[in-house]
C-alpha cells in the first residue's frame, strides 16, 4: 500500500483542554485527576518536569504539589469529548482515512511522498492549534508502530517542532532513535511482556526489531510478531475504525466508584438502574441488542475493619433487547439474590454482553427481539439532551431521594469532582465568559 502512516496525538490532552478556556493555566504545572479526584491521570509538561507520575494518588502528593504551585482539576469529560470531536474533525479535512484510536490520537493515511506529507502535517497541526487550541504532535512513518515511535520522538525533541518524519524504515536516523527507546515504550508491548523480553536481553526497540520474527511468534504470539515486522516498516496492523467511537463488539461496561459508600439494596439498586440506562444508551447508539445483563458491586479492599465483598450476578434475557426497562430490570434482578445487606459498597456496575447488531438480527416469527418499540430510550436521550442528565429515568435511576445532590445523577453518592472546570461547550449555564471591561 503506497503512502505513509501518520499518527497525530495531542500533547497532554486533558491538561491542554483545561487551558483552552482558562489561559491562566498556560505554562503552569497542571494535573488532571481521575474519578472521585483519586489519581493523577494527565499532566502538563511543567507537571511532568516536577516528576509527578501518572497514577499517583492525589492525596499523597497534594501538599507538596500545592507548594510547587501545581493546579489540579477534576476530569471534565464533557469538555474533553467536545474538544476531541472538534480536533478530530479538523484533522479529517487534511488527510484521508482517519482512524480515531483514542480520545486524543488518530491515525491518518497520507497517500503522498514524505515531503508533501510533512507539509500537510505542519498545516494540520497549525489548524488544530489555532482553531481548537490543542497542541498535537505528529509522527510519520511507513507503519503504525513506527509512526507511534516517531510521535514520541516529536514530543521528546522540541527541535522537531512537533512533526517527525521517518519515511524509510532502514534509515540510519531511525536505527539510532530505536536504540534509545526502551522496549516497554513500544506500542503493543505490555508490562508483562517487557519483563520476559528483558530476561531475554531485549531491552530496546532496536533489539526487538532485530529479533527473528518467527522466533518471536513461537515464543510469544502473532501480535508481537506483527510488532517486530511493523518496526521493520511493514504495515501489519489493520484499521479498526469504530473502536474509538465507543463501539464495542463484545461487551458494554458502565461502572463507577461512589464518593461515599452505599449501604442497603435500595441505594445499590438506584446506582445499577442508572448505570443500566447509561449502558443502554451506548447500546442504542451502536444499534445493538444485548442478551445478557451482568450486575456487580464491591466493598473497599482497603477497609480492614470489614470483610471484602465482591458480588456479581447475571440475568439472561429471553430475547435480545435494547429496551431500557427490560435491561434496567434485568440488572436489578441479577443483583437481588446475591446481595449482602451488611456491606458498605464503594463501587457498582452493569455490563451488557452477548451483543448483536440490531440491523442483522432476525428470528422466526414469534421469536422477536424485545426491542424498544415504544421509543422510551430515544425519549430519555432527548430529555437528557434538552434538560441535562438525571431529569427523567426508569425506576430509581438516580433522580429520587430528598433533593438533587448532583447535576449528573441526582444522588448523594455521585462521584466527587471538587475541582471541576466549567463545561464550556456543552452546558449553557457554564458557558465561558469574556470580559468587556
Amino acid at each position: 500500500m503506497p503512502g505513509l502512516t501518520v499518527l497525530a496525538d495531542a500533547n497532554s490532552f486533558f491538561a491542554s483542554c483545561e487551558t483552552v478556556f482558562d489561559p491562566t493555566l498556560a505554562g503552569k504545572p497542571v494535573v488532571v485527576l481521575s474519578n472521585n479526584d483519586g489519581c493523577v491521570v494527565a499532566r502538563s509538561a511543567k507537571a511532568k518536569a516536577l516528576g509527578i507520575a501518572n497514577g499517583t494518588p492525589w492525596f499523597k502528593i497534594r501538599e507538596r504539589a500545592r507548594q510547587d504551585g501545581v493546579i489540579a482539576r477534576s476530569s471534565n469529560y464533557e469538555l474533553y469529548a467536545s474538544l476531541s470531536a472538534r480536533m478530530m474533525s479538523v484533522m479529517r479535512t487534511y488527510m484521508p482515512r482517519q482512524e480515531i484510536y483514542s480520545i486524543d490520537e488518530c491515525f491518518l493515511h497520507a497517500p503522498w511522498n514524505a515531503a508533501r506529507t510533512a507539509q500537510a502535517s505542519i498545516r494540520m497541526r497549525e489548524a488544530v492549534l489555532t482553531g481548537v487550541g490543542i497542541p498535537v504532535s505528529v509522527g510519520i512513518a511507513p507503519s503504525k508502530t513506527l509512526a507511534k515511535v516517531a510521535n514520541h520522538w516529536a514530543k521528546d525533541h522540541p527541535q522537531e517542532h512537533g512533526v517527525t518524519v521517518w519515511p524509510r524504515a532502514d534509515d540510519v536516523l531511525i536505527t539510532e532513535a530505536l536504540a534509545t527507546i526502551p522496549v516497554e515504550r513500544v506500542w503493543g508491548v505490555g508490562r508483562r511482556l517487557t519483563r520476559t523480553l528483558q530476561s531475554m536481553g531485549i531491552l530496546t526497540a532496536l533489539q526487538l526489531r532485530d529479533t527473528d520474527p518467527v522466533a518471536i511468534r513461537r515464543r510469544f504470539s502473532v501480535v508481537l510478531e506483527s510488532t517486530v515486522l511493523e518496526l521493520r516498516g511493514l504495515p501489519c496492523i489493520p484499521d479498526q475504525p469504530a473502536a474509538a467511537d465507543g463501539e464495542r463488539t463484545t461487551q458494554i461496561l458502565c461502572s463507577r466508584m461512589f464518593s461515599t459508600p452505599i449501604e442497603g439494596f435500595e441505594g445499590i439498586g438506584q446506582a445499577l438502574g442508572l448505570y443500566a440506562q447509561r449502558a443502554c444508551h451506548r447500546l442504542r447508539r451502536q444499534h445493538g441488542l444485548c442478551s445478557q445483563v451482568h450486575a456487580f458491586c464491591s466493598t473497599s479492599p482497603f477497609d480492614t475493619d470489614h470483610h471484602y465483598l465482591s458480588l456479581h450476578g447475571v440475568s439472561m434475557l429471553p430475547d435480545p433487547s435494547d429496551d431500557p426497562i427490560t435491561i434496567g430490570r434485568a440488572a436489578y434482578d441479577a443483583m437481588r439474590p446475591h446481595f449482602d445487606r451488611h456491606g458498605r459498597y464503594i463501587r457498582a456496575g452493569v455490563m451488557l454482553c452477548g451483543l448483536v447488531d440490531a440491523d442483522v438480527f432476525h428470528t422466526l416469527d414469534g421469536l422477536e427481539a424485545v426491542r424498544d418499540d415504544h421509543h422510551l430510550g430515544a425519549v430519555l436521550d432527548e430529555v437528557a439532551r434538552r434538560f441535562g442528565p438525571a431529569r427523567a429515568g426508569v425506576g430509581y435511576a438516580g433522580i429520587r431521594g430528598s433533593g438533587r445532590h448532583s447535576g449528573d445523577t441526582g444522588a448523594p453518592w455521585s462521584m466527587r469532582r471538587d475541582m471541576l472546570s466549567a463545561r464550556c461547550t456543552t452546558r449553557w449555564d457554564e458557558m465561558a465568559v469574556v470580559h468587556a471591561s
Binding site: 489561559p23 482553531g131 449555564d429 465561558a432 468587556a436 471591561s437
Partner: protein, 204 residues
C-alpha cells in the same frame, strides 16, 4: 436557505396541491398527514419531495462549526459595537484576525473582547466605549488573539434564548478570583435583528 419558502410557494401555486394548503390552514397540525393521505390516495405528495427540514440558524451563522465557540459577555465596554452585557458571542478561532475585527484576546490570562486596530504595525485593543482606555501591548509583550467574533446575539425583551442565565464562573476555575459578571441589564437602546454586526461605523 430559502428552499422551504420556495417550496411553499410552489406547492400553493399548483392547483392539485390545493388540499395541502387547506390542510395547513386548519388549527390542528395533526390533520396534515391525514389529509395528505386521504385526499391524494395513490397520488404522491409533491411537497414531501421538497421539504427536508427547516433551515438551521446554526448552519447559517456558523461557517466553521469545529472551530466556533459560543461565549457570553460580561461588561459594557463594547456597547458601541452593539455588544451588550450578557450577549452571546459567536467566536471563530480559525479566522486570521484582521484590522477592524472584533476579537477575543487574552489579557492577563483573561478572555477579553475588544476591537483590534493597528497603529502602523502595532496592534491596539480598542474598547467601543469612551469610558474605557485603549490597550497597547508593550514591545516585548505577546498579544494572544483567542478568536475572531463573527457576530453576537442580543436578546430582546421576550425573544431571548430559553432560560440562559449569565453563568457564574467558578471561583477555583478561573483562578483569578474575579467576582461573578455583573447582572445582565436590558438597555433601552434597541438594535434590530438578532445578529448584530456593530451599529456604529468602524473606527478604523
Amino acid at each position: 436557505m430559502p428552499v422551504t419558502a420556495q417550496t411553499h410557494d410552489d406547492v400553493t401555486a399548483r392547483p392539485w396541491c390545493h388540499a395541502v394548503s387547506v390542510a395547513r390552514a386548519t388549527t390542528s397540525p395533526r390533520a396534515v398527514p391525514m389529509a395528505l393521505e386521504a385526499v391524494h390516495a395513490g397520488f404522491p405528495s409533491v411537497a414531501q419531495d421538497y421539504f427536508s427540514g427547516d433551515f438551521s440558524f446554526d448552519e447559517h451563522i456558523i461557517e466553521h462549526p469545529d472551530t466556533t465557540f459560543i461565549v457570553t459577555v460580561a461588561g459594557d465596554s463594547m456597547q458601541g459595537a452593539g455588544i451588550w452585557d450578557g450577549d452571546l458571542l459567536v467566536v471563530d478561532r480559525s479566522l486570521t484576525p484582521e484590522p477592524g475585527d472584533v476579537v477575543v484576546a487574552v489579557l492577563d490570562g483573561e478572555l477579553t473582547v475588544k476591537r483590534l486596530l493597528f497603529q502602523g504595525s502595532r496592534p491596539i485593543l480598542h474598547p467601543e466605549n469612551p469610558r474605557y482606555p485603549d490597550f497597547r501591548p508593550m514591545d516585548d509583550e505577546d498579544l494572544t488573539i483567542w478568536g475572531v467574533v463573527t457576530g453576537n446575539f442580543h436578546p430582546q425583551s421576550r425573544g431571548g434564548p430559553r432560560s440562559v442565565d449569565t453563568p457564574t464562573p467558578r471561583q477555583h476555575t478561573n483562578g483569578r478570583g474575579t467576582a461573578a459578571p455583573t447582572p445582565r441589564h436590558h438597555p433601552t437602546r434597541t438594535t434590530t435583528g438578532g445578529i448584530v454586526r456593530g451599529d456604529e461605523p468602524l473606527t478604523h
